[in-house]
Symmetry: C3
Subunit: 163 residues, 3 copies
């Protein structure tokens, strides 16, 4: 193989890695508008069909249970009152066709009797991801509120130690 | 065309897409320091000359009106008091030389009579962007406060449905 | 050099720039889980050995002083109470093997006598970075609280003006 052909081969691999990273960041960034719009059909695009969204008090397994949460009185009530599920940039580690992304999220709600907003929750998030037919999807998202509970701190520690 | 030449051609296109995505994220990330520094000349670099910044109660058309907002007593008062216009990562869809990015922003203000800060607003943002002479600029940024109003939720829904 | 070889050479340079940008964003995103997990050994990976973390009232020089801060009663107390150091996407300018990233961060703490959380601080951050043996590290991170003080606003203005 010529020098140029070898360099092209190595560039193709590097471009693939960059595309994977941006696709994962994009998938995470897509969750926000989908969930705050209350659009369940959009939200489930983030997960594989049997994907899990495991929040402190509610573990949803598969698209149907996630759809139910988005349509619930609790979630729709947040939207009617005014809310933002705000994400920070994720720290992503890719290993072939799987990846883990770690970040925090805020749930911010409109104050019911005042002009401002309140940070209702700050949550540690671990996204386990898989590339299927060229597309990244979440297989398990685990979210634990950062209220001092060990589980939430441990979730971040796993991300910081790598996988 | 040889296999290598064909691969190089396809890589060139993929690298262009990656550069476009990062340039758009970068443009959005540039708004924050510019606006919180109160630097109007920096802020307007985000928009085309006739670009629009359409916020709930104030629709600014063109650089001059945006400059006026940055220099206004209201905005300069926020800076003197202590403020941060904080952005989350945007969800970006590119279609040739145009793009749409959807994200939320927070306006956080220093409490006037206490040590802490208050989330004054959480806002849905839609950035319509255009690539002109190789450079991405915002043509229209629409911002609606997430206080339960339908317009703000619809703005996010448009982003989640794709364009 | 053939047309293809010239294009490959230019692609190699462009891919390197993209990798640099993503590596820097990734380094910044890594700080969050590390610091909120209270994992000092992870936190110091962000800085060069003699790296500086200069916060309003505390200037840490070198890994040992940063380790001491992470292990301090103050920081560990935040974690026990419930906290999130939340970052927004950084605005990054690269110049060869050095770079500057500008962004804001929030320190959010669990309310001690209520269910919610409070934004304790919004801070302007300037990250000065250097690429050493192919790896980006922070040489100086300067953080100033956005409570109206000129230093914090000036830090953002420097970022918006470019370097």
């Amino acid at each position: 193989m010529s020098d140029t052909a070898a360099l092209v081969q190595s560039l193709a691999e590097r471009v693939q890695v960059l595309e994977d990273r941006l696709a994962i960041l994009d998938l995470m960034a897509f969750y926000g508008p989908a969930v705050d719009a209350g659009d369940a059909e959009a939200v489930i695009k983030v997960w594989t069909e049997d994907g899990i969204y495991d929040v402190d008090k509610l573990k949803m397994v598969g698209h149907d249970e996630i759809i139910k949460m988005v349509g619930s009185d609790a979630h729709q009530g947040y939207i009617a009152r005014g809310c933002g599920h705000v994400l920070e940039p994720g720290y992503v580690e890719i290993d072939g066709d799987t990846a883990v992304a770690t970040c925090k999220s805020q749930l911010i709600l409109k104050d019911e009797d005042a002009d401002g907003f309140t940070v209702a929750r700050v949550t540690a998030n671990r996204w386990e991801l898989r590339k299927i037919d060229g597309e990244w999807k979440c297989t398990v998202r685990t979210s634990r509120v950062l209220d001092g509970r060990a589980e939430a701190v441990e979730l971040l520690a796993r991300g910081a130690r790598g996988r």
